[in-house]
């Protein structure tokens, strides 16, 4: 984790930010899925200021998409852009950890 964070900080110093593209896999309205949706929306609002796209996929309705993306647990958040791809499992409750994983901590410095 720490290593990844350092690496990402170096890479993301002063580049112009691309639009963040997310795909969030949820399972209907189960509590962790709803929580993940809210957490992601909040993080995007606070740290990306609307410069983002979120595509929510319900695995209960679209199992094929889950299969294609090898999504075994819900919720699963995949950051598609900017590359490299990042996968975060869980309800995204740990904001600091999520920000670090999404390479969003560098901006606050």
């Amino acid at each position: 984790m720490k290593k990844a964070r350092k690496r990402e900080r170096r890479r993301h110093t002063k580049s112009v930010r691309e639009t963040y593209v997310f795909r969030l896999f949820v399972a209907g309205n189960e509590s962790n899925s709803s929580l993940a949706r809210r957490n992601l929306a909040r993080i995007c609002e606070e740290h990306l200021k609307g410069d983002h796209k979120i595509d929510v996929v319900d695995v209960l309705r679209d199992a094929a998409a889950a299969h294609k993306n090898n999504v075994l647990v819900t919720p699963t958040l995949i950051l598609l852009k900017p590359l490299p791809k990042v996968t975060v499992l869980g309800n995204l409750n740990d904001t600091r950890q999520v920000l670090a994983a999404l390479r969003l901590t560098g901006d606050e410095r």
């Binding site: 299969h67 075994l72 919720p75 996968t87 869980g90």
Partner: protein, 485 residues
């Protein structure tokens, strides 16, 4: 030998019949395992298969799954640890046609390994996996599911409570779909069900534990059914082996004697010996040839072998003392040409190093030959060497089982036993099996003046008026001759 009344067996069978009505079962496709489980796995329920690394649990699961898939019960394999490609390769090396089953939509391999790079933040569930599986189950009308290395899934969760919750959810999901499920869970060696997974036991309707242990430097694999809700089952530890065809379970402790009555007499080879034996050996009985080293035991057995093969009978010779080649060449000295008998397929010589494998594997090879070659006679040379299979107990197990298997098939069983000392009578008992042997022939050397005389006596021959005297004989280049006195 008198046939024992199988009283306990009858009760067991009755109990099993009752339970069969109450509980539908699914064949495992492994004959020995079905016997132990009283028919198979509980249909529509969860069976837990526990064991240490390399104990063979995944192999058992996979064989059940493939057998089911090939017999009209499509199945899904969910792998939390292994790569699908590795499983395919292992299966094809055993000649299991996985690819064909996959193509026909009878088998589906689900690689459920999580991305090791993924970051975990907060709680989650395996709903994604279940959704994918649901789709597959519907598409292929799956009846079986094997969840391999379910313990790896549990390691994802940071608290035992959540582990438990997820497993309950998984269990419910399996029951809802009516799937017959096998879950393999790795345990620490020497431990049947680690306390961490104690609740797993509680959840499953059937729990099978397999282990691999080393005794006297020999590895043996054993399987035990720990519980089976609503069904009778074999309560012993059952040895099993994994060979090129997969799992073979040998229920060593069969408790019924189904011996056939002795058949007609057959010549022992030399006419004079037939006279001493009241007309030769009775086919389908057991014979022990005991004596000191070099007394002529192997020669006596080979004289019989040649006579039998020349009558058109088949002989299986299990040699634990020397290689087939050296036996063939050694027997040329008393004028016994065995090679032609091997060539015509009447004689099969199997040469094994006793310590090369465990007693189960030795047994398996012997039983396989008995069934495939279907000999009229089997010779074991020598039972004294069988101790090297591990222990006296192991040797006894082996010899008893071979003897029982022979008697069930009406096969004559000739055991050769090498005795060390001069007090032969005390020693011939031969690993405690002498009481169940029908005929005992004893050979000995006796110093007479400057020379050594060979003598033979028939110590025992059930149901025969045999000679009760020592007779001197000589090994010549034409076989074994009686020295007339």
């Amino acid at each position: 030998m008198a046939t024992a009344k199988p009283r306990t067996q009858g009760r067991d069978a009755e109990r099993q019949q009752k339970s069969r009505k109450a509980l539908p079962k699914v064949s495992t496709g492994i004959a020995g395992l079905d016997l132990v489980l009283g028919g198979g796995l509980p249909a529509g329920r969860v069976t837990l298969l526990t064991g240490g690394p390399g104990s063979g649990k995944s192999m058992i699961g996979l064989q059940c799954l493939l057998q089911g898939a090939a017999n009209g019960r499509p199945g899904i394999l969910v792998m939390f640890e292994e790569r699908a490609e590795a499983v395919r390769q292992n299966a094809s090396s055993r000649g299991w046609e996985m690819a064909r089953l996959e193509k026909k939509n009878k088998l589906y391999l689900m690689d459920a390994r999580l991305d090791p790079e993924a970051v975990i933040s907060g709680e989650f569930s395996i709903k994604g996996l279940l959704a994918i599986l649901d789709q597959r189950i519907k598409a292929m009308r799956a009846k079986l599911i094997l969840i391999d290395a379910a313990d790896a899934l549990l390691h994802l969760y940071d608290s035992p409570m959540r582990e438990r919750r997820e497993l309950y959810a998984l269990h419910e999901w399996l029951l809802d779909r009516g799937l017959t499920a096998i879950m393999t869970v790795k345990t620490v060696p020497q431990e049947e069900a680690p306390s961490r997974y104690a609740f797993l036991d509680f959840m499953a309707d059937c729990v099978i534990h397999v282990d691999q242990r080393v005794t006297a430097q020999l590895t043996t694999r054993r399987l035990r059914v720990i519980k089976y809700r609503g069904s009778g089952y074999g309560r012993n530890e059952y040895p099993f082996i994994i060979d090129e065809n997969g799992i073979n379970i040998i229920p060593i402790t069969s408790n019924v004697l189904l011996h056939r009555p002795p058949g007609p007499r057959v010549s022992s080879g030399p006419a004079w010996l037939d006279d001493l034996l009241d007309g030769g050996y009775k086919s389908g009985t057991s014979i022990l040839i005991a004596g000191t080293a070099g007394a002529g035991k192997t020669t006596l057995a080979c004289v019989f072998t040649r006579a039998a093969c020349q009558r058109g009978e088949r002989v299986l010779y299990l040699n634990f003392e020397e290689s087939a080649e050296s036996m063939v060449s050694n027997m040329l000295s008393p004028g016994l040409a065995l090679q032609p008998l091997i060539k015509t397929g009447k004689l099969v010589v199997r040469s094994y190093l006793p310590e090369a494998m465990g007693v189960e594997e030795h047994l398996f090879h012997a039983l396989k030959d008995l069934d495939e070659f279907q000999p009229q006679h089997v010779i074991v040379d020598a039972i004294s060497a069988c101790k090297r299979m591990g222990s006296e107990q192991a040797a006894f197990e082996y010899l008893m089982k071979v003897l029982n298997a022979s008697k069930e098939r009406g096969v004559t069983c000739i055991y050769i036993n090498q005795t060390a000392g001069l007090d032969i009578v005390a020693e011939i008992s031969g690993i405690g099996i002498s009481s169940i042997i029908d005929t005992i022939i004893l050979l000995r050397h006796l110093p007479i003046g400057a020379a050594v005389a060979r003598q033979l006596i028939v110590m025992k021959s059930r149901g025969s008026k045999h000679s009760e005297q020592f007779h001197e004989f000589r090994i010549t280049d034409r076989g074994i001759d009686l020295v007339k006195t």
